[in-house]
Amino acid sequence: MHPAFSVIFLTTLSGVGQGLFLALVTAQSYAAVGFIELENPSAFFGIGSLIALLFLAAGLFASFFHLGHPERAWRSIARWRTSWLSREVIVLPLFMGVVFIYGVLHYFGWDPNVLGVSNPLQGQLSLLVGLVGTVICFALFVCTAMIYACIKFLQEWHTPLTVANYILLGTASGFTLATAYAAIQAPHLTTLYAVWAVIITLSALVTRVWSLLRNRRIQYKSSLRTAVGISHSNIVQKSQGFMAGSFNTREFFHGAPRQVFLAIKWAFLVLVFPVPLLLLAAGMGSSAVAVLLAAFLVQYAGLIAERWFFFAQANHPQNLYYQTVG
């Protein structure tokens, strides 16, 4: 597939926002059960939510570039029964709304105990919102991932690993950002986040490498034989019917040379996993903001590469029909 930057940014930016939100809720949950103490939580959660919102908004903004008619974007809520894209379009703003409420509740300290229970599980409204938000957040991850995973003939995508990767990569980047954020805003949380960031990044490494290995062994169900319906071992296209390209040659081919394609794969494998892990490890003890920020930036850059590769690697069966200019 042709990696469209609008979609790369949509998915990675919103992944960061979602992960960061999850990190915030994680901290609050820890605090709620008394694992940790929070200092100045309203600023930490308020500003943290704002940052998450900014990432989500940037993602949303990027997504508009993907549309031919952004002014009609509202129409895309229509088919939530059948379309994961429609669902994503519904869930994303919903999620942003929840994040917004979550942040506002924290920032202004509006946090009545709605459940009427007290310790060890505090019945704060914000926590409740956070938990609801968590559910929606995962729903959003699932919607986004399923947009790709549900297309069965994009075999590289059509696997639960796609969902796992979206969740884990998004969450990892969010936690890495949270680590750096904590280093600035709440240094006592740095280690907690760093540890989680490392754990999630390692998990993501497992699922992502797993998917790479899986994709290496894919047996494509479609071939020129099924595409044109002629059974012969030697079928070669001589003309795709036009010479200077069309939507079908622009949208479904990455168009990069093989070396670039492979370089990008290695780039993301290095940038998303070992480098941030090392930086996290290095920055964890010292709460070195610069190092942790670097960890996030490197990982995010790696994710852009990862997402590029995710698209580029997907082999659309339609490409069987568009192979030769002649």
Partner: protein, 243 residues
């Protein structure tokens, strides 16, 4: 239920591209408006078409088949492009099974094109909406056209009549008959999309020659021989029997 479709006869398609440009000219001035072309007089001209004709070579010299392969939306019975559309712009008509895009609703997200395994959808780079073969829905029901012309533009154009049009659910229709009797097949059956359009395979006619056909009594060479009159001297059955 009706399912209109094209059946394309690869046995006679000569790859002339008449179906390609007749489709373009009909549709560019049609209800959906123009079908844009970029760089029309410059490097890399590219434009929106609903129908393309491709060429494949099958086999090795000298046992090579050249196959011309026209390709437009297959109007799948279970079209994966439809449920994924977030706006409902892509839809399949109950009444006749035609898969269409409502250009007024389309947001140009291209998702439906990803969901078509056949590469039959093209975004119009200037109108920014997804387009595809409409099975000439604006011709086939147009009562202001003479009855014989209520057919897709490409079908009317095709010089070899390689494009048959009709209801594949009506077992008596020309297209159903062709599919049944001439081995009509769908493309990429592995995805369960159940394309309504079918393709008819190549067929070969051969001549069988029997040895005796080369040595027949009426061989004209025999007339060129100067023949001596032939009489027999000795006795024959004629002399000794009677019936």
């Amino acid at each position: 239920m009706t399912q209109l479709a094209l059946v394309i006869d690869l046995n006679v398609c000569v790859g002339c591209h008449a179906c390609v440009t007749s489709c373009k000219q009909w549709n560019t001035s049609g209800p959906a408006g123009y079908m844009s072309d970029d760089n029309p007089y410059d490097k890399d001209p590219t434009g929106t078409f609903f129908n393309r004709v491709q060429t494949f070579e099958v086999g090795n010299y000298p046992n090579t088949e050249t196959v011309h392969f026209p390709k437009s939306c297959l109007h799948c019975e279970d079209p994966p492009c439809v449920p994924v559309c977030p706006t409902g712009a892509s839809y399949k008509r109950e009444s006749d099974g035609i898969v269409l895009v409502d250009y007024d609703k389309c947001i140009g997200c291209k998702y439906c094109s990803w969901a078509c395994p056949y590469g039959m959808r093209e975004i119009d780079e200037h109108q920014k909406v997804m387009k595809k073969c409409t099975l000439c829905v604006d011709r086939i029901y147009d009562t202001s056209l003479p009855e014989a012309e209520r057919k897709p533009a490409c079908v009317m154009a095709c010089p070899t009549n390689a494009r048959l049009f009709g209801d594949v659910h009506d077992p008596e229709s020309e297209v159903s008959l062709a599919i049944r009797e001439r081995g009509g097949y769908p493309l990429m059956p592995e995805w369960g999309t159940k394309p309504a359009n079918h393709y008819l395979p190549r067929r070969k006619t051969r001549i069988t020659i029997h040895e005796d056909e080369l040595t027949r009594a009426d061989n004209p060479l025999k007339k060129e021989r100067k023949q001596a009159p032939h009489t027999i001297e000795g006795p024959t059955l004629d002399d000794s029997t009677m019936w």
